[in-house]
Subunit: 408 residues, 2 copies
């Protein structure tokens, strides 16, 4: 078996054993881009070798999505397969694990009218709600595993021929996910210990807010009442640990939807609805992004922020040390899962119930500052040039990061 195939096998094994931490006899519901068939077959094989009872995969196809967005009358853009998403939510509530193979072409929907893309996306988000809450509320174990989609590879390595770009992207994925190490499963056990130690520290400190300072950034992010930091392996409602993101370098929690003040500038581009938003900046008052701009992709960004009232508020704040394996690739991945884990970040939209003690919902969730929205879009604000302090309620300032690295 050549080195590439060996690493691909190690990544598939990692997804099942560490990402999902699959239970004996558990069913898996997988989603993947249609280009990932061979990798999905490898994942299915590892799943069955590790005790899965049934592996069902649902493929997405950007070419079909493009045809729809180009051809159908406006009103039809409001249709979405609620029957499918309700079925998926039912499967998760009945104990199936969720395996998302992710690796999209950031330019998949480029050239299509943003309002049509936005309208279809909103219908999609509405229909997907039951599934999203089953996932974000950790009703079951789930993970997102990366796939070197050709469109993605061309975005990351625009100058290279496709085949070479795909190979280079796989190498970066192996590095970012620690698959390039001798024993990735053991490497992840050690990695989880470090992340859990940071989480314990931050949860013990109970900071009132975080203060970010760097070029174009002077942002105070209030933290939700009874916020909980999470990071690394996460317990489901049934107490089973899983690693939702491969890779993951972040520790994250819920901001208070009303207590975000100041200005902030993105440190990396954001891939949104198949388009690239570059030079994103925002000014917050009372938790709301009252002013937002971007050098490129501003229209699709504003379309996102018009989704609902919560889309202009924050649902997540995350700390990531700038010297992590993803950042070390030196690459911009044009993919939120990677780029968000390469730098500290914040997210417009839905907060995660797991980031509030007792996983509240509805009125209690809102009362404590949890934000609600049909969207959740992470964008990166940390770098080697950004310092972060924790602010206690009494105003005491505790240095957390200097020049993007942990100092705790």
């Amino acid at each position: 078996m050549d080195a590439f195939t060996e690493n691909l096998n190690k990544l598939a094994e990692l997804a099942i054993r560490v990402g999902l931490n699959l239970e004996e006899g558990q069913e898996i519901v997988a989603t993947a881009p249609i280009e990932a068939v061979d990798f999905v077959r490898l994942l299915a094989e590892k799943a069955y070798e590790n005790g899965a009872s049934l592996f069902t995969v649902l493929y997405g196809d950007n070419l079909i999505a493009r045809k729809r967005l180009a051809l159908v009358p406006e009103a039809h853009l409001d249709r979405a397969p609620a029957w499918l998403y309700e079925g998926m939510a039912k499967a998760f509530h009945e104990g199936a694990a969720r395996l998302a193979v992710s690796g999209n072409d950031p330019k998949a929907l480029e050239g299509l009218p943003p309002e049509r893309v936005g309208r279809a996306q909103q219908a999609q988000s509405r229909a997907y709600r039951p599934t999203l809450s089953a996932i974000t509320e950790f009703v079951t174990n789930w993970t997102i595993v990366p796939f070197a989609h050709p469109g993605w590879a061309k975005a990351v390595f625009p100058g290279l021929p496709e085949e070479e770009a795909v190979q280079r992207l796989w190498q970066a994925i192996f590095q970012a996910t620690r698959v390039d190490q001798e024993d990735p499963v053991a490497a992840w056990e050690a990695h989880n210990r470090v992340l859990h130690a940071k989480v314990a520290f931050l949860n013990e400190k109970r900071f009132h807010a975080l203060h970010f300072q760097g070029p174009g950034t002077d942002l105070t992010v209030g933290l939700a009442e009874g916020h909980l930091w999470q990071g690394g392996a996460t317990p489901t409602k049934k107490g089973r640990l899983c690693n939702p993101n491969l890779p993951t370098e972040e520790v994250f929690t819920a901001p208070h939807r009303e207590r975000v003040e100041g200005v902030v500038r993105a440190s990396r581009p954001l891939a949104l609805s198949g388009q690239l938003v570059e030079g994103l900046w925002a000014r917050f008052e009372g938790g709301v992004a009252v002013e937002v701009g971007a050098e490129k992709g501003e229209e699709v960004l504003k379309k996102l922020l018009d989704t609902d009232e919560g889309a202009r508020r924050l649902g997540e704040v995350a700390l990531v040390p700038a010297d992590n394996p993803i950042a070390k690739t030196g690459l911009v991945f044009f993919d939120t899962l990677f780029d968000e884990n390469a730098a500290s970040h914040i997210a417009f939209g839905q907060a995660y119930a797991e980031n509030l003690e007792g996983r509240p919902s509805g009125e209690e969730f809102r009362r404590r500052g949890g934000n609600e929205s049909m969207v959740h879009v992470d964008w990166m604000i940390g770098s080697e040039e950004v310092d972060v302090d924790g602010l206690l309620e009494d105003g005491t300032r505790v240095p957390l990061m200097r020049r993007g690295r942990w100092v705790i």
Copy 2:
């Protein structure tokens, strides 16, 4: 556009406009083998050009199915994605059309232990029940469109290299579906008129039974009380016509589950659970196949007949003229959709409610002779050597077919 691409486009157009007879704004739920991605994309394009609002495709993958059947412990074979099938049934009840892209490798599951294949298939049938009844009860418009799967092509043309076999199979599909004609949509309108005329004749006659005579066959098939012949374009419960089978040459109805007597020999092989059953014969008494045998594949056939009590009784009898375009290809297709439409046939298992006046269900369905089972497997008994008579209740004999051709 070369001739092949033109014919493929004509087949996709035929599937949407004649197969589904798609309504403006209607959603489509498609199923397909994973090898059919490019053809599915063409179908999606035609669907959106003809008014579809949303096209969702669910892919099956024999390689993943094989891995499961080979690896999982026995008990896990009883799992099936009920959440998905219930979702599909819900979509159909809410008005989505069903598009099945069919073209399987008849040897896909060969070499796997039949009892494991059978056990997984039974679990699949149980979970698929709500979807199957929504389809067989014509809650919505549906069609099955053929795809020249490489595995299928190699079975039909064992001596040819794969690529050539696939091209030859596509040509046979184009011939069988009338796509090779100048205007396939018009050709199908004429074809439907002929089929509907036979249906009207047979429904007006109200035969008590049919008598089949040929080499190894002397079979009297009693017809269910208030049976209805169907053929060609079929109305859904909402009255919309669709052509469920592309191709279709048959007129068919429901036998009486208790009134089938005599012996019968298959005129073509039967592809069953990825295996080939050749030389199939059966002896019926009181509607039950009391004796069954086959020169090849007898074990998987018996596994099927053990599925439930109804599996040994008949759920369909169909008349097909021997001089139809499928038979004219001279090919054995190793695929029930084609082979059943190349010759008169009968089916073990579930009867179609549409073949009984008023589409009864439950007790009324059974009382009138409708058969119930988790399976529905057609096998071919007609040929140039088989004559068919209609028997009226008073014993009068009306010649219907001589040497396999209509004489009415």
